[in-house]
Amino acid sequence: MVGRKSFGGSGGLFGAPLSRRSALKRMGAGGLGALAASTGLSGVARAADAPTTIVSWASAGQRWEFPEKGVLPLFKKKFPNIDVQIFAEPIGDMLAKTAVAMASKSDRYDVIFDDYNYSPQFIAEGALENLEPYLDKDPEFKKDILADIPENVLDLYRDKPAAQGGKLYGLPPDSNCQMQYYRADVFEKAGLKPAETWEDVIENAKELSKGGVKVTGTTMRRGFWAGAAFITLLRCHGGDWFDKMEPGGWKVQLDTDEGHKAMDVLMRLVPYMEPTALNASDDEANTAMLNGTWTYAPFEWGGSTMNDPQYTKFADVWKVAVVAKGANDKGHHAPHMGGLGLIMPVYSHNKDAAWEWIKFCTSGDKQDPAIGKAWVENAGQPARISLLKKYTSIRPYFAGMMESLPVAMRFLPIPESNALYEIVGTEIAAVVIGQTQPDQALKNMQKQATRLMTKGGYYKS
């Protein structure tokens, strides 16, 4: 026929000459068939496999990835049929990605080791599995964990406080709060003491920078990090986000006397901050503290590697104290409460196996003393008081954490929390690099936060 080329000369694959069109059709059909067959075969293969594989997503490094990997061999011994794949990313990247994953209903992760700050929005989205039914199946474990983890820490993973009948949507193997980190050797040499008030902090930072090198730092990256830093200062001076967090309240209180005092302290501290601090998240802050670039971090998130000689040669000299208070009448110690907990997305297809992993990681010494030991020795920072007390000998800063946790204040228990911290953090980052004036920044954050709360329907009568 005109326009048709044949392959195979006088005989193609099946004896008759094969036209180009026929060859293409057969190749296409063959490709589709192979695709269908491979999907079917892998399905058969999966059915035949015994072990269940779960994916546990954690922030990379200390406190999260390392302790999970530390207890994993013990878990495998107890649950040989559950294979845990630990997937880790730097915390500065990971947290926002968990919001994306939950919003897109991803079923890729069975357990996520996530910041409690994201719990309110995930619970509001219906993305988290309620863990109460799992806890009710093991009353002994439930009783133990409720007794050993402070209620204000467990409340971070509830839809509302336990006193109001809240349900647990996560369990914390990790707890944290901001602390005043200082290098005891450097302080001793300079004749300094940990600060009691924020004026003392500024004096310490000024004194430490007298050699021409700035060594004070904190996490001041635009967004969540800088936002948390400013809100700590605000709270330490007696202020807070809102007048009251209940119907009829929710009036934003950023552009207030306390806000101005907090901003004033920040602006007097910034000139003594080491440059990396201006764009630092936890990853950069921990690196700077471990390698000796920073010797003073007046309000820094807990870092279990600071006292671990395998990560730093300064393990013996990093000490902690409670974060300073404002020097005004309303001043009080008000570090931010931190901490990450294990949550189970409702989209997981391996919930029973995921629950075993969560229970194992949070069991402390309950199931096996080796678990608590492995967790702490692999840079974990436990939420269980029993573990904090038991391992103070190898992690001296645990004592400081136990002192700080009772006065620590949480992020907001509303879905708008992250967005509000982003608003504040954006303005603060602009102020510290001189792009905005402090007074204007306070006005901007007040206006934007109020607009966000209005959109959220908090002012409807």
């Binding site: 296409g28 989205e125 440059p275 998240s281 879905p415 608003i423 959109k455």
Partner: protein, 297 residues
């Protein structure tokens, strides 16, 4: 009788086979390209918060007009334009110079050209991380080297002055070879008869380059500038890895601003609006360049 019914059976079968074979590709395009594009346009005209989807509502052009009030958006827009035009201008100048140097008979020319393309093959993330540690202010390699020879240093990636130039440097380092190779291929496509005639007329090398070669390769130059401009305006990975948009929002380009707005603040409506502003900006540039191109042709 309908047109379809009048076709012989073998032609109808051929059409069906063609549809079946094209089907997966079309479905893929629809699902992963066309539908998300239209959906993002829909989101841009709505108040859409990731964490308060119970409050999704039509907002008209509010998301776009709110951007005009946003200092961070204005900053991002300016940073994007400064980054794109600076990087592309430097890449064009350096790339052209390298192309001129390579456009001659010399030993190992092929080897040189192969080595030249290596930066383009490196993943931007890997390259960005490397440059981040080179330019780290206190413990980076560059600071160390400069201090060891008693030269003054700067805060590089955390400096309001230097952060953007550092990112531009990294981008220029990676993409100048690409520009050089495209321009070189344009130069080598110029007919030797033309250049020989120019030599016979007594033109110097310099005159030959500017009066003969450059006008002839102008379409090539326009195309490579357009490609690089589009890529630069959309750039995300290099800035994200090197500076995360900081310090403050000094290096926060539009694509990164859109990401932070959408996934950190949860405001997908505004994030989509920013993305569409970027699309409009790119399309305006393309329209301008295509006009130049058609005039040149």
């Amino acid at each position: 009788m309908s047109a379809a019914a009048s076709l012989p059976q073998w032609q109808r079968r051929e059409k069906l086979v063609a549809l079946l074979l094209l089907g997966p590709a079309v479905l893929y395009l629809l699902a992963l390209s066309i539908y998300p594009t239209i959906y993002s346009l829909w989101i841009a005209f709505h108040n859409y918060s990731l964490y308060r989807r119970d409050l999704v509502s039509f907002s008209g052009f509010d998301n776009f007009t709110d951007l005009l009030d946003s200092d961070v958006f204005k900053q991002s827009f300016a940073v994007t334009l400064i980054f794109a035009f600076s990087a592309v201008a430097i890449e064009l100048a350096l790339g052209f110079a390298i192309a001129v140097l390579l456009d001659r008979k010399m030993r190992a020319a092929n080897v040189l050209r192969t080595l030249l393309i290596i930066p383009v093959l490196i993943s931007p993330v890997a390259m960005g991380l490397t440059f981040r540690y080179i330019f780290a202010p206190t413990y980076g390699l560059l600071t160390y080297l400069m201090k060891s020879v008693h030269l003054p240093t700067a805060d590089w990636t955390v400096s309001v002055t230097w952060a953007l130039p550092v990112v531009i440097f990294a981008d220029v380092w990676q993409w100048t070879p690409f520009v050089a190779l495209i321009v070189l291929s344009g130069m080598q496509s110029v007919s030797t008869e033309v250049t020989e005639a120019a030599e016979l007329d007594g033109l110097t090398e310099w005159q030959k380059l500017w009066r003969i070669v450059v006008p002839l390769i102008r379409p090539v130059l326009l195309v490579v500038v357009l490609i690089r401009l589009i890529d630069s305006i959309r750039m995300f990975d290099l800035v994200y890895v090197m500076t995360r948009g900081g310090p403050g929002s000094t290096t926060e380009v539009l694509s990164l601003f859109s990401y932070v707005t959408g996934f950190a603040s949860g405001d997908m409506g505004s994030a989509s609006a920013i993305a569409w502003v970027t699309v409009i900006l790119v399309n305006i540039l393309v329209a301008i360049f295509l006009r130049f191109l058609s005039k040149t042709s």
